[in-house]
Chain length 436, copies 2
Amino acid sequence: MAQPRIVIVGGGFGGLAAAKALGKTPAQVILVDRANHNLFQPLLYQVATAVLTPSQIATPIRTILRKQKNTTVILGEVTAVDKERKCIFVSNADREGVPIAYDYLILATGSTHSYFGHNEFAEYAPGMKSLADAVATRNKILQAFEQAEAEEDPSRHRDLLTFVLVGGGPTGVEMAGALAVLVRTTLKSDFRRINPASARIVLVDQSQRVLTTFAEKLSKAAKQRLEKLGVEVRLGNSVDLIDADGVMTAGERIASKTVIWTAGVAPSPAGKWLKVDTDRAGRVRVQKDLTVPGHPEIFVIGDTASLEENGKPLPGVAQVAMQEGRYAAKVIRSRVEGTSTPGLFSYFDKGTMAVVGKGFAVLQSWKVQASGFGAWLTWAAVHLQFLATSSLRIAVFLQWAWTYVTGQRGSRLIVNHHESQPVKAAEVAPRKPAAA
Amino acid sequence: MAQPRIVIVGGGFGGLAAAKALGKTPAQVILVDRANHNLFQPLLYQVATAVLTPSQIATPIRTILRKQKNTTVILGEVTAVDKERKCIFVSNADREGVPIAYDYLILATGSTHSYFGHNEFAEYAPGMKSLADAVATRNKILQAFEQAEAEEDPSRHRDLLTFVLVGGGPTGVEMAGALAVLVRTTLKSDFRRINPASARIVLVDQSQRVLTTFAEKLSKAAKQRLEKLGVEVRLGNSVDLIDADGVMTAGERIASKTVIWTAGVAPSPAGKWLKVDTDRAGRVRVQKDLTVPGHPEIFVIGDTASLEENGKPLPGVAQVAMQEGRYAAKVIRSRVEGTSTPGLFSYFDKGTMAVVGKGFAVLQSWKVQASGFGAWLTWAAVHLQFLATSSLRIAVFLQWAWTYVTGQRGSRLIVNHHESQPVKAAEVAPRKPAAA
């Protein structure tokens, strides 16, 4: 009898945890992702602020799974799921809708950013979900300083050196802190006509505090730290408009050429593929064993799943996704191997952290609430440990140590992906006899 | 009296050498480049083959010159030069044709790749001159393996796993060697349906030997080494056609989805800006002091200048550009400071090298001609030494050591710069109350 086939869609924290947990199962495992790399999203803001290079937070999925001989990795975008025929449809570069049959399916397709019905904001305020987003944001930030330096008229410097971050969650707070350190240390001596330290950084959120998922005390500590770094924190006001000239908030125009969006998140379209019940946000409502009602062979995990525990929905964080991935793998393994079914899923919350600038973080875990340098060291150690490979751990550790000591960053490049053009044939004659 | 203003266009090897040599001159120095980084082009092929990350071969120009207080760096593209009014015109993100006046001008605008009148090749065969080129080539190479792995029908694997390199100069030879090592070591265990080592790598050049600027003995050694690595070297035939299905050479169709162009180079349009005499290739004919006839205040250096020594044109290499940059700076300094004018420019050729695969290079310097491991060590030491900053030297050294020992590479990422799209407003309702 042929081995059963387990198809996992998504190589993020959840999908990868599931794949690893299935490494020794007598089954054929196929992992499909539209990116060739697993992305360590918690450090994405460090790519956007030029601390780390893209390759320091991303690892090819097939490198991570290379030793797992029962697993095939496929690069492609899933476009549909046929629950009855038990197959998914995958498109890649030159082929559309190639069917891949499954016996078990794990959907771990994550979330993307959302402008809450204001998609016209996208043109002016990039989000922060993929490597391409982070590189685009880095380009935008560095470009603003370059434009200001090129500008001999100082009256035009102000808008160029105003940065508005929309969203006071971990990404917004971490971005604001990293940006403040960038302008006050890394860029300090690099310009002649402008003073980067005079840059204005504004963080806007409509909540009454930043980091709403943390204890109130820690929100306050984070806000104070941001203000100490020179960030203007504006709470309790929504952003009503974003355009080429800046934002409108609380009836006031903040002129800015660089607006960054970290406010909203929306799940992948897994619910639409499956045509099943979703919550208000569009996440698939799963049962306590993470399967879809009526389909014990379909699991949905991570940011794209909706599951409540103690009356509260589980948050869209890496820990939930990883624990769910491991659980789904365990259930499938028990069925494939005919062993006893594990108990229902329950989430073990280890805690949560956010870093604010250099040498400062807030942390809560069980009864512990801490802020300051110790929390930052813990943050650094935990994040290093969760990187995908030991070579990344070494590379990121060295980069952080270097940045901490020298203030210099790893990747201050503006890469324009449309810059390079061959010379037109008519413009010049060949320089040497054509090799081709 | 105001200090004289020296404008340098181009932050490559030549322009940067000139800027550095002017660090202590009582003058205002302005360096203009359309990229924010100095690119170490000799290692560009290592980015294209995923060994190094873009930031390991590129450094922000303003970081390099940060301590030089008389120097301002401007990001912008030069569109014209007015010799009579002594100013250049610079465009950047939101402003067009801003004039910058000069007393002395150094044009060090380099070269780009050229398809020798076949610009229709560009769509199928990217060149190798900028970081964006190298990243695009890397995407293309890695994508080919991904597409083959996604393909269950083995008859379609052949075209996807055939790589054609057009051009047998140093870049083509180095690319071919690095690609051969990539498929036979780095990718070895990563795929299930394909065997990366079965990839076919073809190097085509119409010359009778590779590396025509080297001694014949070394060309032969390089060719033998390439063949030992499994590269098919096809000499004496031009490439007559490149399209979506591959190339035509010597009446034969080589089916390939991945063609890379390293054959041709063409100078920047500096000659057209100046409306002066150029050689057949379009390079500005300069006098023995590197100035343009009739304009002792305008210097043209590097790949975009044409100068003969002993009846032979100087080659378009980093050494020539750097020595010319330092010479132009010296002449300008003598005039600004009123000291005696230096003698005419003469090029001191230290030698040339090319690496072929792992642990093998060819090298010629004066009477020395060498090939093998010793030449490779020399190559590695010299290239490390010429990197722009000590942090890059450390980073590249560590990366090379890691790659040498483990076979793994630093940056196997496919980054699709159009991949990330916010979810359409109509698709899902907000997940949580909008922060904005």
